[in-house]
Amino acid sequence: MKKQLKLVIQEKVNKPALSDNQLAVLQKLQNKTEPAKPGSRMALITGAAAVILVAVFSLKNFS
């Protein structure tokens, strides 16, 4: 039976699906890998900047 192209495409592409097993693997992956927290990233950048500053000042005083 002829139907609107849009509907026929929707029906076609909605058929393939991840199995329960594949979904479980992906959910497990998400639980295992915590996204980097913005706070900890900020602390890391501040720390690195402080180390660079100390190094620059030390070199300046040394020379």
Partner: protein, 156 residues
């Protein structure tokens, strides 16, 4: 982070591109890992961000395997907007679509997916695929011709 329905959505998109279950699953896994490493800056943009990752990874993968067509896309714009409207009105059976689906290249299937399933306009498709709107209209023009040919049993 991703719900099961969002994962299914990503998988269907990846499947449209690759036409292969295993490659589609690999692409989704890759996109999920990538999102976890570097989440999108805009909240609520997780799915569209992931679709973009899948699209880019697919192109990288296909180029490595030399499956992606490198042909230059012409930008004939004559009556192309009208083609877009004709696509909206087009009727077809599922077996006719099945017959033509795997003969389409990945970009053509992707355009049809974004238009029919995601409800994107031609401009939004152009943004998503990072190509000009003229190219999208040109592709739609050719797609409509091929689909019309298929639904009329080869005679246009």
């Amino acid at each position: 982070m991703f719900s099961n329905s969002q994962l299914q959505k990503l998988y269907r998109y990846a499947y449209v591109l690759t036409a292969d279950e295993h490659s589609a699953h690999d692409l989704v896994q890759d996109a999920v890992e990538s999102c976890l490493r570097q989440p999108p800056k805009k909240t609520g943009a997780l799915v569209s961000y992931s679709l973009k990752i899948i699209h880019n990874r697919f192109i990288d993968m296909a180029r490595r395997e030399k499956r992606f067509p490198h042909t230059t896309l012409d930008e004939e714009l004559i009556e192309l907007d009208a083609d877009n409207l004709l696509l909206e009105e087009m009727v077809i059976t599922s077996s006719e679509l099945d017959a033509v689906w795997l003969k389409l290249d990945a970009m053509e299937r992707e355009i049809l997916f974004l238009w029919a399933v995601e409800g994107y306009s031609t401009s939004q498709i152009a943004d998503q695929l990072e190509i000009s709107r003229g190219t999208i209209l040109s592709r739609i023009h050719r797609l409509r011709k091929r689909l019309a040919k298929e639904s009329s049993g080869g005679a246009v």
